[in-house]
């Protein structure tokens, strides 16, 4: 069951600036992030033979990015349709391609103008093409904050999860962002600031919701052996899992407080040969505060229903038993659809996260949207090389 454990590595990470208006195309953002990641690894575009992204029709395709960077004959590419839920599967699939010898050096990127051009929250974007939408949109229910608010409320009703639990997470992540020069929101907030922020969709306030960001982030995936000879300390891909799980929309899932991550997590840990207690730092998909709380449960860091109190106990803060979203996450660093979580995990394992470094971090978990909207999710376990 080891699969491709530790056979591949992330050898470079690259970012563009994060902003509310990049002023450039997603193609330009993608090129900039890819070149930065290659430079970080000590490679050039001439070394690239694989290109991968995920997108929802909102960004430059690998088939555009390759030629734009003079990569004329990639031996492997992936243009994965999907949102945050598939974000980590892109790196997993790149690792598979490298492990199988189909490609040697793959760049994975996500480039979005998620504020200035294509707002995830709705404006400027058509409804998703999914058969479920017809039963929801006529009631004014279609935007991700509404959907997640619905599940958050179910969790509150069932387990007594409180606004203060959501708020505690928002406060911790903002404090982390204050130590991150890349972060868009660096002014510390208090629980009172959280509670005073305006309603978006009850039970969610503004400070429960991620930012909408223009920017790009890229990663270089290559073999562990090759990564060891490159410029930066290699970070091994110990496990990459992606998959489905049932959808409560088709009758297969009865419990609205459990996500697909609960089904994926055992497979992920088995592949890495570790358990949740071995994870030193976790970058957990935080489209909303609640998505972190439910994943802390579903990835086994606390019991079902205990995610809120676990966060409020300080466990996820710096110095706690599981520092979470050390970069500030989508709530405060910026929203690059999952890839900036992986990049932060890499940084923590290299030990170059500066002021926000988790001391002695050797194993990191990074996760995708946990499969509430469609029943798919993905995650990575990374290890210091």
């Amino acid at each position: 069951m080891g699969g491709f454990r530790d056979r591949t590595a992330v050898a470079g990470v690259g970012y563009t600036r994060f902003s509310k208006d990049s002023g450039v195309s997603t193609l330009t953002l993608a090129c900039e992030a890819v070149l930065a990641a290659l430079d970080d690894a000590g490679l050039t575009a001439d070394d690239v033979d694989g290109i991968a992204t995920h997108r929802v029709g909102d960004s430059a395709a690998p088939a555009l990015v390759g030629p734009a960077l003079g990569i004329h004959e990639p031996s492997w590419y992936l243009d994965q349709f999907g949102g945050g839920s598939v974000s980590h599967s892109v790196v997993g699939q790149a690792a598979l391609a490298v492990a199988a010898g189909v490609a040697e050096t793959v760049v994975c990127y996500r480039a979005i103008n998620a504020r200035s051009e294509f707002r995830m929250g709705g404006t400027g974007r058509g409804l998703p093409v999914s058969p479920e939408v017809q039963y929801q949109a006529p009631y004014g229910y279609f935007a991700p904050p509404q959907q997640y608010a619905m599940f958050a409320r179910a969790h509150m009703s069932r387990y007594g999860t409180r606004p203060e639990h959501f708020g505690a997470l928002a406060v911790v992540q903002r404090a982390n962002a204050a130590k991150n020069p890349r972060a868009l929101m660096r002014t510390p907030i208090t629980l009172d600031d959280y509670l005073a922020s305006r309603w978006i969709a009850e039970p969610f306030r503004l400070l429960d919701c991620c930012l909408e960001t223009d920017g790009a982030c890229a990663l270089v995936v290559t073999s562990a052996e090759r990564a060891a000879d490159l410029r930066r300390p290699p970070v091994l891909i110990s496990a990459a899992a992606w998959g489905g799980g049932d959808s409560f929309l088709s009758g297969g899932r009865a419990d609205t407080t459990v996500t697909s991550a609960a089904e994926l997590a055992p497979r992920l840990y088995r592949q890495a040969g570790i358990g949740p207690a071995d994870v030193d730092v976790a970058e957990i998909y935080d489209c909303f505060t609640y998505s972190v709380i439910v994943q802390l449960e579903d990835y086994g860091f606390c019991a079902k229903g205990e995610g809120g109190p676990y966060v409020a106990s300080g466990a996820v803060a710096p110095g706690g038993e599981l520092p979470v979203n050390t970069h500030g996450g989508f709530l405060s660093e910026g929203y690059v659809h999952g890839v900036n979580h992986i990049a932060e995990a890499v940084s923590q394992l290299r030990g170059d996260a500066g002021e926000r470094q988790v001391a002695g971090a050797e194993v990191a978990l990074s996760t995708a949207q946990p499969g509430y909207i469609l029943p798919a999710t993905s995650a990575l376990i990374l290890r210091k090389g």
């Binding site: 929250g121 709705g122 409804l127 058969p131 479920e132 939408v133 017809q134 039963y135 929801q136 949109a137 006529p138 009631y139 004014g140 229910y141 279609f142 935007a143 904050p145 509404q146 608010a149 619905m150 599940f151 409320r153 179910a154 009703s157 069932r158 305006r198 309603w199 978006i200 969709a201 009850e202 039970p203 969610f204 409560f248 929309l249 088709s250 009758g251 297969g252 009865a254 609205t256």
Partner: protein, 128 residues
């Protein structure tokens, strides 16, 4: 926002417009299903029939939407997710027509909201 029916769901919308509260029921294993689909997700057969069920359920969850996601709608509105009494595996959404806010587990009853001859939507109100 008008629903965009697909080839699996068009008949369900026609029946709803006619005031019927129906689900599909699998002929082979009796699993109820909603939203409408050609195949039973449990036994993977495709023989089924429409079956009227009680237009009743319990509140699974709800939101009060404030952000003006919908053009031209600025007042907050409540959307409920309802688990059906006679098909607990199935949930339906709708707007809330109660005077008091919903609470989890509250028994509710469907009410049809006629939009025009071709379309009715389903809202929910407290039972009794």
């Amino acid at each position: 926002m008008r629903p965009v029916a697909d080839r699996d769901s068009a008949e369900w919308w026609r029946r709803t417009a006619a005031g019927e509260f129906v689900l599909q029921r699998c002929d082979s294993c009796a699993t109820p299903r909603f939203p409408t689909r050609a195949y039973c997700h449990r036994c993977r057969t495709r023989e089924w029939h429409w079956e009227p069920v009680a237009p009743a359920g319990r509140v699974e969850s709800w939101i009060v939407s404030h952000q003006p996601f919908l053009a031209g709608v600025s007042e907050p509105y409540t959307v409920v997710m309802v688990r059906l009494d006679e098909a607990p595996e199935c949930v339906m959404y709708g707007n809330w027509r109660g005077a008091e806010p919903p609470v989890a587990g509250l028994p509710v009853r469907a009410c049809f909201r006629k939009v025009d001859e071709e379309l009715s939507l389903i809202d929910w109100r407290p039972l009794g």
